[in-house]
């Protein structure tokens, strides 16, 4: 029973299966989400060592819609580090025999380290500046839902790439499907090694170059809490790396704008863009639930034979 630590080591088929299955869990137009009993009697623990509203809530709702019991614990890493160690905290929780632990932690690799010492599957809900796999999965679902293909899509990811777990998970996922990935940001936030992270990745410090002919523009939040120094002149960020309406003219006519949230209006994205028809930001949030349902079902095994909607595969891969 494997957890989900990242997209790096998922195969294209595994990703396709999750994206297909997520579609089964999406409500139809104008409908509300349905409840399923696929995970009745199972318990998942949401263990968040870092502040998060949307991801934690999204996982919680996803678990409940599948009939699982979900317990959420918010443990500020700082208070934990004063007393109980991370290993002890997890061992304590593990002794209560949950079926999976959904974990967010400020330290890169914290779930990977714990998974080696804990027999319970861990779903990574974001580890430091490393990976955030369910975000990349829901982003892919959103791109597909907007009628675009991942194969050959030109995806610009713009902002603080160095400190972005969303960027890494998206790079690995999109690369497996043959997307062209253009990473863009100020040089200090765009290490040159990124070009070798996965096939199909190119780098540019020019916003215009990144956006030209893009199918998808993914903006990243400026993560002041992860920058330990001023890597770019204060006050100049929005001028050079903030997404404004005029940029969209360079992209494909049907390009979509994405953002993992929470957005900082006027810092990395203008309000006009965030609220425009091009924006898929709220679709991303909505897809978070169905994608996380698919992930929970996969990790927890589901397997009681109930087919929620009789839905068919759409992402081009089998279940």
């Amino acid at each position: 029973m494997a957890g989900l630590l990242g997209t790096e080591h998922l195969t294209r088929a595994e990703i396709g299966a999750i994206l297909d299955r997520a579609r089964d869990f999406q409500p139809g137009p104008g409908q509300s989400f349905k409840r399923f009993d696929l995970l009745r009697g199972r318990t998942v623990v949401n263990l968040f060592f870092e502040a998060s509203t949307r991801t934690r809530t999204s996982f919680e709702i996803a678990a409940k819609r599948l009939g699982a019991d979900a317990v959420s614990i918010t443990a500020q890493a700082s208070s934990v580090s004063k007393g109980e160690s991370l290993v002890d905290t997890l061992n304590t929780l593990g002794a209560m025999r949950p079926d999976a632990i959904i974990m967010r932690h400020a330290a890169s690799g914290a779930p990977h380290f714990l998974q080696r010492h804990l027999g319970i599957p861990i779903i990574n809900a974001g580890d430091g500046t490393h990976e955030h796999p369910t975000q990349a999965l829901l982003d892919a679902r959103t791109i597909l839902d907007r009628g675009k293909k991942l194969e050959g899509a030109r995806v610009a990811i713009i902002g603080d790439i160095a400190h972005s777990r969303v960027a890494r998970s998206n790079i690995y996922l999109l690369s497996k499907f043959g997307s062209q990935i253009v990473l863009c940001g100020p040089a200090a936030l765009l290490p040159r090694e990124l070009a070798h992270l996965a096939p199909g990745v190119t780098l540019t410090t020019s916003m215009d170059e990144a956006i030209r002919d893009a199918d998808v523009i993914m903006m990243l939040r400026v993560q002041l809490e992860r920058q330990h120094e001023a890597a770019f002149p204060a006050g100049e960020y929005y001028q050079f790396y903030g997404l404004r309406l005029e940029h969209l003219k360079l992209a494909k006519y049907d390009a979509i704008v994405m953002h993992p949230g929470p957005i900082n209006r006027g810092r990395e994205i203008s309000s006009e863009v965030a609220d425009s028809q091009r924006s898929a930001i709220l679709n991303q949030v909505e897809n978070g639930i169905s994608v996380r349902m698919a992930v929970l079902e996969r990790v927890l095994g589901g397997g009681n034979g109930v087919n929620p909607s009789g839905g068919e595969a759409h992402a081009g891969a089998s279940h």
Partner: protein, 432 residues
């Protein structure tokens, strides 16, 4: 104590140029002679047939954690690990608590070692008080108390003027200055080598240049002052090149490398496993190749382990929370044979020199102010002998280590060749 005769081994003593099958006769704590068919009345005999008999190996860079961190290691436990690794002399760095920055602490360590250590312990004193990088420590008094070098090891002197004064001071006392080269501004917050792997793992990087800029600075200061200067645990390509450059200019600049830095690269790390976390970090394959090349071509003089024990609880944390450092004493010979000898990069006399004559010369243990010479089997030298095999197969089990700590990435490693017996002052203190 009765005499000891080590019979019939291949005796390799690079300091005297001796290499041949012979017996070694030790009595009254010193070498009485090397030759064929030696006997002494009532002597113990050790049969070293098919084994290598070398001067006692010297590890010029260890952490014994005493005083202050005895839960991780003590002078006694560290000395036992040293003996089991084939070392007869070890040099503990001053980052204890309190820091070894005064004759009092140096004497304390020396006295503790005299009572409890089973190998020789030659302390290294701090460069600055508290290793805070500001005011020079009591360098002369520490030397009188037994310090053989000065270093602020893990807390490198950032102020170039302080480093200059330290070199001048060390020069007047005849001590080498050893520096852990790391520009702390460039490395700040880093957890592993900066490169594709750190980007991939989302860990903050320690760039190779953070070492190289300080090596460059120190070499220039060594030229200015004429001091004897030694680069600790050299790890990056340009550092090795610069040491070679300094040697070519005739400066008294030397360097050591650790077995892990010529064995593992950043790509060999088990992700987020703190047994792969140390300073300097495991670097790129290109750096590893250059460190090997530096040993082969003589830019690097010595092999030292940087044996850095940490208690299990300290290493069982999020990677970025874990302290830096790994054990090294018990695996050094095995790793060095594997990486440098078995593949033909260096011959056995060179191998032995890296652990004996060279560190002895750097630390002035080859002709000390008092006591017998180390790093050689010349007549009258200390009766310290390392007996090792180049063929014996064994598996390293860290849980059986003599160290109090367990932080090694080499647990379970299969070795071909390793220490067989360790002789200190004519006494066999460890035997496989």
């Amino acid at each position: 104590m009765p005499a000891l005769i080590i019979k019939n081994g291949r005796v390799i003593d690079p300091a005297s140029g001796y290499d041949g099958v012979a017996d070694v006769w030790i009595e009254d704590g010193v070498v009485k002679g090397v030759g064929a068919g030696l006997t002494a009345h009532g002597a113990n005999v050790f049969d070293a047939t098919d084994l290598i008999v070398a001067p006692g190996f010297i590890d010029m860079h260890v952490h014994l954690r005493e005083p202050g961190f005895e839960h991780a290691e003590t002078i006694e436990s560290g000395s036992r690990a040293a003996a089991a690794g084939g070392f007869t002399s070890i040099c503990p760095m001053p980052n204890t608590s309190p820091v070894n920055d005064s004759a009092t602490v140096t004497s304390y360590i020396a006295e503790k070692a005299r009572r409890h250590a089973i190998v020789n312990v030659f302390p290294i004193g701090a460069i600055t008080k508290g290793s805070a990088g500001e005011e020079l420590a009591a360098i002369g008094s520490m030397k009188q108390a037994g310090a053989v070098a000065i270093s602020d090891d893990g807390r490198p002197v950032m102020n170039a003027r302080v480093m200059r004064r330290a070199m001048e001071c060390a020069l007047s006392f005849g001590l080498p200055v050893i520096n852990h080269c790391e520009d702390l501004h460039l490395s700040a917050g880093g957890d592993m080598h900066e490169g594709l792997e750190s980007v991939r793992l989302g860990l903050r990087g320690i760039p190779g240049v953070s070492e190289e800029v300080m090596v460059a600075r120190d070499i220039l200061l060594a030229e200015l002052t004429g001091a004897r200067y030694h680069v600790a645990h050299i790890s990056s390509r340009h550092s090795v090149e610069m040491v070679a450059f300094a040697k070519a200019r005739g400066l008294s600049v030397t360097a050591e490398a650790t077995p892990h830095h010529f064995t593992l690269a950043d790509t060999d790390m088990l992700p987020y496993d703190s047994n792969y976390k140390m300073k300097p970090p495991l670097r790129s394959i290109s750096d590893v190749e250059m460190v090997i090349e530096g040993v082969v071509n003589g830019a690097i003089d010595a092999i030292a382990t940087d044996h850095a024990p940490h208690a299990g609880s300290e290493k069982m944390q999020e990677f970025e929370q874990c302290p830096f450092g790994i054990l090294g004493l018990e695996t050094a010979i095995g790793l060095t044979l594997e990486r440098l000898f078995h593949n033909g990069r260096i011959a056995l006399p060179h191998f032995v020199r890296l652990f004996t004559a060279n560190p002895a010369r750097i630390l002035n243990l080859h002709r000390p102010d008092s006591g017998p010479a180390r790093g050689t089997l010349a007549q009258g030298a200390a009766g310290d002998v390392t007996i090792f095999s180049t063929g014996r197969e064994w598996i390293y089990d860290v849980n059986k280590s003599f160290s109090k700590s367990r932080n090694s990435p080499f647990h379970g490693n299969k070795f071909r060749g390793g220490p067989v017996a360790t002789v200190v002052g004519g006494e066999i203190v460890w035997q496989a």
